[in-house]
Subunit: 515 residues, 2 copies
């Protein structure tokens, strides 16, 4: 910020306390709040509206790749988890376990689980649905003609978390999980990458959030997966956020659930399966990518309201004419489209001062805020604020005053410009904060210890160690609070020595602090 006399809308600045700033944005933008139930949040209208937008856009992309939506049970029998060894290790730890199906009142009148209604076999609230969908696939797939089988579901899942953070890590969260079965490894791997590309496109085009798509190292694989791929986004504090994953599961789950098909020659074959998911965590990514010291900035594609019109009502006679003037602008805008959909325009005529409402929508991050006072109306203009560049050099909100006609005619273009600008800002910041010139662990340590520079990410050459060698690398990094993120898919092969093992490097991997 080149001016210092701005009075920002939030109490905490990103630079001062990023974690605290994150919480304040969530509260100031009225996105979500603690529910009182351990680890679960209430997603409020503006936050849920963003999720509905993400759902709609991503659902279209998923359907366009030939998937049908289904719905599978929330409860998973314990036995399902015992089938796949790595999967149970990965998930059996922190899950919500249903043991009773009835409550009764005890002698003091307090409700307790009824001992007579204990389940013979406890049920787990799904942390993910590979095993239960695997059961269904085993029923649905008989012949090679049934393949590929491409399903998806939108659902809530539960993973018991000790330390929670709204949107980033909650015990219950909302997500989509896609599951497919294929005849062979090549097709399944291709599909794993195809869905990774869907996630990249969704993140970058819909959420204006630049990501690196690449493969996770072995230690970061989904429990039971053969390959795990991710999209990783850089938050404004330099940390990495894993925003979506796509897994090639080999035949591990097919074997555990018995997903077999008869090939054209008549012999039985195991299917190769994939799974992939993104969640409400994406909203955390949007906040930490686009938020600023005035609150959230929502990209127009996913903004519940793209344009908010605020007549400066005075509780006086002129109000009716003012509302009519605004209504006409509203109607002109509401007929238009951008990003393939009708514009989402709000004319807010609730009682209250326009300036107070303006700051509400600034904190919520509505892309365009239009204020209209009596004088604007007399001059046939409106006062228009772009949320993505809202401060003028004088430290005041940078209102433009197009005619009403200009505002209406230019809105589509303006929204596209805001969307592009948000992406551009985020991409420039990310690219400026990636270092590729560090060649030893000492350099890594120094870089991340230097509080004067933005930490960002470091891409290093490595030898792709496995097993105990990899464990050692992970341990070394853990001491620095660092993790390996992913190996970008389009990276050129590398030369030189692995900075961890000294062995010849085979690829370059991102190292970063992470959420």
């Amino acid at each position: 910020m080149f001016v210092s006399n701005i009075r920002h809308a939030l109490n905490v600045k990103r630079a001062d306390d990023f974690a605290q700033w994150y919480q304040e944005v969530i509260s100031a933008a009225d996105l979500a709040e603690e529910s009182g139930v351990r680890g679960c949040m209430v997603i409020k209208p503006w936050g849920y509206g963003i999720w509905e937008r993400i759902q709609r856009l991503l659902d279209d992309r998923i359907k366009n790749t030939g998937h049908d939506n289904c719905y599978f049970p929330i409860f998973i029998p314990l036995a399902n988890f015992e089938r796949e060894a790595e999967h149970v290790d990965g998930f059996a730890k922190e899950m919500a376990v249903v043991t009773h199906h009835r409550l009764i009142q005890d002698q003091k009148g307090k409700l307790v689980p009824d001992p007579a209604a204990k389940l013979e076999e406890p049920l787990v609230v799904r942390p993910t649905s590979e095993t239960i969908i695997g059961d269904a696939m085993a029923r649905w797939v008989q012949s090679w003609r049934d393949l590929p089988l491409k399903t998806n579901q939108w659902a809530n899942v539960v993973r018991w978390e000790m330390r929670t953070r709204m949107f980033l890590r909650t015990s219950e969260f909302l997500w989509q999980e896609g599951h497919t079965a294929h005849a062979d490894a090549a097709e399944a791997k291709e599909h794993t990458l195809r869905m990774l590309e869907v996630y990249r496109a969704c993140a970058e085009e819909d959420l204006a959030m630049p990501v690196i798509a690449g493969e996770k190292p072995e230690n970061e694989r989904f429990p039971g997966a053969v390959e795990t791929w991710s999209i990783e986004a850089m938050m404004q504090d330099g940390k990495a956020l894993q925003a979506g994953t796509s897994h090639y599961l080999g035949t591990n789950f097919a074997e555990a659930s018995g997903i077999r098909y008869q090939d054209p020659e008549g012999s039985q074959q195991l299917c190769h399966t994939t799974s992939w998911g993104v969640s409400t965590r994406m909203i955390g990514g949007v906040i930490m990518t686009h938020g600023d010291d005035d609150g959230l900035r929502v990209p127009p594609t996913i903004a519940p309201r793209q344009v908010v019109i605020l007549p400066m009502l005075r509780g006086k006679e002129g109000d009716d004419a003012l509302i009519e003037y605004c209504q006409s602008l509203h109607d002109q805008l509401a007929k238009q489209s951008a990003f393939g959909e009708r514009l989402r325009v709000l004319l807010d005529t609730r009682p209250g001062k326009a300036a107070a409402k303006r700051w509400d929508y600034v904190r919520k991050g509505a892309p365009v805020i239009i204020e209209v006072g009596g004088r604007d109306m007399d001059n046939d203009v409106v006062s228009l604020l772009r949320r993505d560049q809202m401060w003028a050099e004088n430290g005041k909100p940078d209102f433009q005053t197009p005619t009403r006609e200009e505002a209406a005619n230019g809105m589509q273009e303006l929204l596209y410009a805001i969307q592009a600008n948000l992406f551009q800002q985020a991409k420039e910041r990310r690219d400026a904060n990636i270092r590729t010139d560090i060649t030893d662990i000492e350099g890594l340590k120094e870089h991340f210890a230097d509080t004067a520079v933005h930490p960002g990410w470091v891409q290093v050459a490595w030898s792709k160690p496995t097993g105990a060698d990899l464990d050692a690398v992970v341990e070394t990094l853990k001491d620095m609070k660092l993790t390996v993120r992913n190996v970008p898919m389009d990276d050129t092969p590398t030369t030189g020595a692995c900075i961890f093992t000294g062995a010849p490097a085979v690829e370059r991997i991102y190292v970063a602090k992470a959420y």
Copy 2:
């Protein structure tokens, strides 16, 4: 059916075994299946597609009445249920209770709930969310300016059921639950009825399912409600299906959760709240309203695919031209709209015989099925089957052969006609099977005992008994396997004597067997 030589697509006819027929439709139309998890079903693409359509249309209606969608936790602390006495009695019985948050392997290697991870306070998987949303409302409502507060959520809920039936009664189901808070009783009651009207419109206009909107008698009220209203639909076996309910909750839940506001004069007041929901049960209603002996018939508004085009491929040279011919029809149709949305058209070029596919889509109930063979193409026509009137007098499928141009140009009108026809058929059947001339219990008994007539519903005069008097009525009816349904809202006052108590009648109530 006026012809007897039809070979219907299902094995079981409605007239022979309605319950068995219902199960066969679900399986033949590929709507859902048992999951292997007690009481939970898997909703398959065609069934979930119908649910997505219902969701989209109803969500628009709910948003148009000023509601915002939110999301609330799946887990509800036990203490919440203890607050409202009637509510706990109504719900505390059969619920899924989470008691542990971790699994471990026992000595035999079997997964068991970890005794060290027992929850201090068990959590209930929500059977409905009045109490947890009440907590949120208590935080959100401070002043009269915050009212009315109108929320809605789309979610899964769990009520442990001993005997389950797909879509009609499952332990887990999907629904929408709306919750509102108002300043006074009059506004809350008005809103209760407004949402009942939304449900009526959704049932009749979107699902083509005629319903009676009315008030439930005291014994059928939602636990904790002051008034419960419902829409009731007559299934083809004459039974009533409660397809949606809207409750005026008085100040009961406001008191339990502390939902208070400061009125303009500065004193604290309790809010009056409402709640209302419809669920995947609606799909059961669609099946039993529109299904026939050939499978499901889906109203065009909610059909995942409204038009299915089946080229009669022969694995030969002419196939390419045939597909091109069909593709052009597909593209012409896909540009058109009906019911405010783009037409949903499927061109099915998968391998397989067109006739076999035709019967698949007949069983699924796609509104319009178009077959195109080489000869059709040569004559520039298509063979078009209306699923709602598919049999000709000669007992064969009643294919029409419009030119391709006629088929394309007439499709919008045809879909409206099918929608209207399905509603009309259902309404005529319902109206023909309501008796209003029965004036004593003996008559009621005789009517429902007579297996030669369609049982349907009987509307009787009653004195609106309460307490023990009502219990006696319920008991009498129970012996006949009957229930009181609702009192239609627009009914004129009645005279005469209550058929149960002999006291002067005050209104007329429907009596029926029910799902």
